[in-house]
Symmetry: C2
Subunit: 159 residues, 2 copies
DNA sequence: CTCAGTGCAAAGGATTTGCATGCCG
DNA sequence: CGGCATGCAAATCCTTTGCACTGAG
């Protein structure tokens, strides 16, 4: 890693916008993909949002984007580890910046309107979670790479 | 609850097949829905499986079922709280018996082939999980009804 | 009889893909 | 120049829906 001290940044837990783009570019470059303006625009939209977005929401936030390219680029960004795709039961895929480009968090999903908010779990829970992860990984033959913890309920608007 | 001692059974953590069907029928009846042979067949297929199934898998397990009715019935069964729908990133919805008709468990998902296995979390984790649930519910204005904890990784076949 | 349930076929809709063009390296 | 990237339009494919028929109560 000759380009700089990226490792230190993750310890701070907050990522500057410039570093965000540097990091995104690096993850793409690792797969021989370019960090084009369209892809940068996607990252900007997701970085500005405080919650995961559907493709229509992304297009609304930046109308210069085209649907098929946005889908295609979100796919590339997902493979490159810049973006994560989240599914809820409303027919849409939701997109957010991937782990490492954003602080670690979980989701609270409104099962009525599909709205997704972020929340942070207590250190105690994360600790217990991690213990379980490794435990289960040992027992199942699965190579556990990640976990997701969602709370399902009804948001204040839908109550 | 005049029909019997269902409450005691859940403490054992194992549900007898007859009680499963009784319970399913009761949950449907509460919504003025019949427990028809097609719906019973769906429950049988899901009860026999040790993992969530896609609709094609369900139809393969019982070829007498028709696709549209199966989808429609799984929808009714989901609304009635007999079945749960799970989404992973492979384009298919997965179905399993709902909480209460099955022991409490979580999922470990293979992000390569979509395969889903069940696993049980430690009491310590569940306790911590529950503490977080109520905590977050207080802080967000969400009415938290449920949680889902998935581990994501690669199964032994795809490694 | 009545009305929920069934199954075929057709529609729906988010996402993907073919293909010709544009543009960065 | 060469190949990735773009965007339009058409195709895909899981899922839902319209509709006429069947069967349980």
């Amino acid at each position: 890693m000759a380009t700089g001290d990226i490792g230190e940044i993750s310890e701070i837990g907050e990522i500057q916008t410039s570093d965000l783009h540097d990091d995104a570019a690096a993850r793409l470059a690792a797969r021989d993909l370019r960090y084009t303006s369209a892809r940068r625009a996607l990252v900007d939209v997701l970085a500005a949002a405080d919650r995961p977005l559907t493709l229509p929401q992304i297009l609304a936030a930046d109308p210069t984007l085209s649907q098929s390219s946005a889908y295609r680029n979100l796919g590339e960004l997902t493979l490159a580890g810049v973006v994560s795709r989240i599914l809820v039961d409303d027919g849409f895929a939701y997109f957010e910046l991937a782990e490492g480009l954003r602080h670690h968090h979980h989701h609270i999903v409104c099962t009525t309107c599909g709205r997704i908010d972020d929340f942070t779990a207590s250190p105690a829970l994360e600790r217990e979670l991690h213990r379980t992860l490794t435990q289960v990984a040992d027992g199942t033959g699965f190579d556990v790479a990640d976990h997701r913890l969602d709370l399902l309920g009804t948001c204040s608007d839908c109550r």
